[in-house]
């Protein structure tokens, strides 16, 4: 490089510079093609974050924010200040934790389902079962509720059947009652999601080296031992990832399921955080208070995700995000 003659480096540098400039220009032109989509990202993902300022004002819809009163942390204090409010929040958190814990405790169901389904020898039979049991995952919660209504309302199929068999005289209240709400919600989400949840494990089973089973058989292991010592350990990494994701979504139950099943009778035990935010914000029109809760929830969720990710990195050396 140092041996080149005096006039050459200048033209080379010049050429390089020009080349770089042209490349930079092209790079920016490419970015311009992307820009419309980036605007969408800003509008629908970043801009709503500025909505958090509403948590610090006393905002009542027809009056614009600029004319609303700044109240500082009033809404955050309100959550813990008054006895009834605290009680309500406590109940909502209890419901949220209960639903999430039940989901985590039952998160091994799909693993069992996959192992059991894998034991079925007839391939056609297996495929049919797989298709039919995954179908409920693809219908909306409104439709699940429509089914629940057709089956379990006081004039529904189950009550009619039980009455015709003279097992009961009064229709049982499956939907309009406050008993066993958590369990019922768990059963519905299991009905909807069990078959689908197992697919990921079925695929993992397909990936297990058949030679492992051969070797196991030669060593005299029976079916149960093959499952215990080969299948289950092979599924553990996948299970761990699913478990971590479930933990990181501890506060995010979603609201669709609880919203469609909610009624005047079961509200105490069905109101999870997401539903509570909706009920307070849209139902009672306390937008500022609901935003305050929303904001806390989002912050805790992000924190949870990072903690879980750290744990995953420490224990498995792999991150989940």
């Amino acid at each position: 490089m140092q041996n080149v003659t005096a006039d050459q480096p200048i033209t080379d540098k010049e050429r390089q510079k020009r080349h770089q400039k042209a490349a930079a220009k092209r790079g920016k032109q490419m970015w311009l093609l992307l820009a419309p989509f980036l605007i969408l990202v800003v509008l629908f993902s970043y801009l709503p974050l500025f909505g958090w300022v509403y948590a610090f004002f006393d905002y009542e819809p027809p009056i614009p924010l600029s004319q609303s009163e700044f109240v500082g942390l009033q809404w955050f204090k309100m959550m813990v200040q008054n006895q009834t409010q605290m009680h309500q929040i406590f109940q909502v958190l209890l419901n949220t934790f209960a639903m999430s814990l039940l989901n985590i405790v039952t998160s091994f169901f799909p693993v069992l389902f996959a192992i059991g389904l894998n034991e079925i020898r007839n391939k056609h039979f297996k495929n049919i079962i797989q298709t039919l049991t995954t179908l409920p995952n693809f219908i909306s919660w409104v439709l699940v509720y429509s089914i629940a209504f057709a089956m379990f309302s006081s004039g529904g199929m189950v009550n009619d059947l039980l009455q015709n068999l003279h097992l009961i005289t009064e229709p049982l209240k499956f939907l309009d009652s406050d008993s066993h709400v958590w369990l019922k919600m768990l059963l519905w989400s299991t009905w909807k999601g069990l078959g689908w949840g197992s697919i990921i494990y079925l695929a993992a089973i397909t990936g297990i080296d058949p030679e492992l089973y051969e070797a196991g058989r030669v060593d005299g292991a029976n079916r149960l031992q093959l499952i215990r010592y080969i299948t289950v350990p092979a599924l553990m990494p996948t299970y761990f990832v699913m478990l971590m994701l479930a933990v990181s979504n501890f506060l995010n139950n979603g609201m669709d399921q609880y919203f469609v099943f909610q009624n005047a009778f079961n509200q105490t035990h069905i109101q999870v955080l997401d539903l509570y935010v909706y009920n307070v914000g849209m139902g009672q029109n306390s937008l500022s208070y609901a935003t305050a809760i929303s904001m806390l929830k989002s912050l805790v969720s992000v924190a949870l995700l990072f903690i879980v990710n750290k744990v995953s990195q420490k224990t498995r050396g792999e991150s989940i995000i």
């Binding site: 974050l49 509403y54 693809f138 409104v142 509720y145 429509s146």
Partner: protein, 304 residues
Amino acid sequence: MSNIEKNEVTSGERVFRVFNVIFFIIFTLLCIYPFYYLIINSISANNLSANGLINWWPKHIQFENYVQVFKLDGLGTAALVSVARTVLGTALTVFASAFMGFMFTREKMWKRKFWYRFVIITMYFNAGLIPMFITMKNLALTNTFWVYVLPGIVAPFNIILVKTYIESLPRSLEEAAELDGASTWQVFWQIILPSCTPILATVAIFSAVGQWNSFQDTLIYITDQKLYSLQYLLYQYINQASSLAAMVKNSGGGLSSVAAVATAQTPTSIRMTVSIVVVLPIMFIYPMFQRYFTKGIMLGAVKG
């Protein structure tokens, strides 16, 4: 070898196998019976279905319900809205995912890594329902059709899927095209897009099901009845027994003859028929495209 295998089937294992099969048969029946129940009720005589007399097979089969529900106030419009949002929403998401995934593989693009992170990171936080509502209101999108389509166009997870897929493709074709002076747009349209169809099919199918099933956005952003989606209308039909009964009166006409009783609409017949109308597209599409669904969840797992 085969000898060992034969000896292995102990009686305990046989019992396990029997119970295993029985469990799966019962669970499968639990999964599909409700759909069967809705179907047989929607095609049976309405005076029988209203009294819960149809449990196992249809009686006095008739298809009048399916003609009648589309005459209900708002159902035709809602069906149109649902179809429109599904078609448009899916098409736009597929295009955006493909194009953005492609652009993020262009090393020459200005600050590529930064913008990629800028988009992907939005997957991990969420402003929340109420701030989202306020934003939509400020953008004047509430009570417009666009609120169904615009927020879902950029889907970070889909972008990751497409980008990873493009990176796994051999680069020789695009390099050759670039040497020939093809523009970014030409490379995308003529080379990348055709070779991405498998992954885009997966994206499309998940997006379409999501759009069709979506219910929350109508609930939150829409008050104009003309923009109700099918899912939301169904929810209303289930919950508002009184208004439904009023609609029945309007659409059914007078019950002048005995024969009319069997086909006169009842709240039950309307609920069940609309439920089937809502679920039928899914029931047809799902078995046909099952492999795409399965592939979708596997890709998700790989990414974690």
